[in-house]
Point group: C2
Chain length 197, copies 2
């Protein structure tokens, strides 16, 4: 199994973390997509969107972090990580949607402005990120995990850019239940970190 990977990408880290929790081995293929690096034709042939992460599992190529989490959960995980019944499955999907919206276009973009000089409006990204953190915090006041009584891929998908929020100038200390959930994530058997965590 090959993972096209970039160390500082929170989206790539979602896959590295999930593989670690599942005990899956893979070969890392480093890709540099930071501003100014051209996307090679070889890489665009693997992923026409030109983004990491991409997984190549013995010839089955899956791009996009959300799609890869779903693929790995269904193929190598069990019902815990991604339920099959309509309502529990929808609970996971709701928080995957939050991870793709408030967290990616709020928190992750704020971090990209601060760390990688990307051109987005920092205040607007932070405001969007804060709305995501508020929704997460309210939910985690009454729940230990986002979508079920145990961790699912929803937690894996939301965790990186939440935990990295301080790199985008967003303090987490107003979100006490989020902080406790971060501690629970870091206590999972097999947990690995990434730079900045």
């Amino acid at each position: 199994m090959n993972l096209y990977d970039m160390e500082l990408s929170g989206n790539c880290y979602k896959i590295r973390l999930f593989c670690a929790l599942l005990g899956l081995n893979y070969e890392s293929v480093p890709v540099n997509l930071l501003k100014g690096q051209p996307k090679t034709a070889d890489f665009l042939a693997v992923n026409p969107r030109g983004q990491v992460p991409v997984l190549d599992d013995a010839g089955t190529v899956v791009w996009d972090s959300m799609a890869i989490l779903v693929y790995l959960a269904r193929k190598y995980g069990n019902e815990q990580w991604l339920p099959t019944e309509p309502e529990p499955l929808a609970r996971v999907m709701q928080w995957l949607a939050v991870s793709e919206n408030e967290l990616l276009y709020g928190l992750a973009r704020a971090r990209a402005v601060v760390r990688f000089n990307r051109p987005w409006d920092l205040a607007a990204c932070q405001e969007m990120g804060r709305s995501g953190l508020a929704v997460l915090d309210a939910h985690l006041q009454r729940n230990r995990w986002l979508a079920a009584d145990q961790p699912t891929i929803a937690d894996i998908a939301c965790y990186p850019y939440v935990a990295l929020a301080p790199e985008g100038g967003m303090a987490l200390n107003g979100f006490r239940s989020v902080e406790k959930w971060i501690a629970r994530m870091q206590a999972l058997p097999g947990y690995i970190a990434m730079p900045g965590l």
Copy 2:
């Protein structure tokens, strides 16, 4: 089944369209979230994110268009709309991810700037939208549907903001395979339109 709904929302239309294709009946609960309209406490109790669509299926409340599509497909659809096996499921998820990224933050935001005076950078949104259209078009040159040999919820999720792209100042006539796919969508038995289509 109640659908908290806004007529001009492409995300709400995804659900209306899928219900029409599945032959599902629902009661529409109109919500006005256009700029300047306060979000009521009643509505925030239903969806803490304060967004439409929200589905209430006999007390099972699901928010977020992507989560609702997955819920309806698993509960009332069949394997066609959302496969269960890892690889075909991942194919659907990949295009759901495109719908949540290039299409929502590119095409839908460009439309929101033009139609609803939202404050985003029109040129940047259009550029992101164009990259999504290019990926879709290249894929649809070799495939009739996005994720399988027949339509799935990936097509439902991607269709609205692609078809509405001209409202955001994006011509589709450079994307011939996308145009043909739009025509195939509109020919599906049970298809319904929305304002602007």
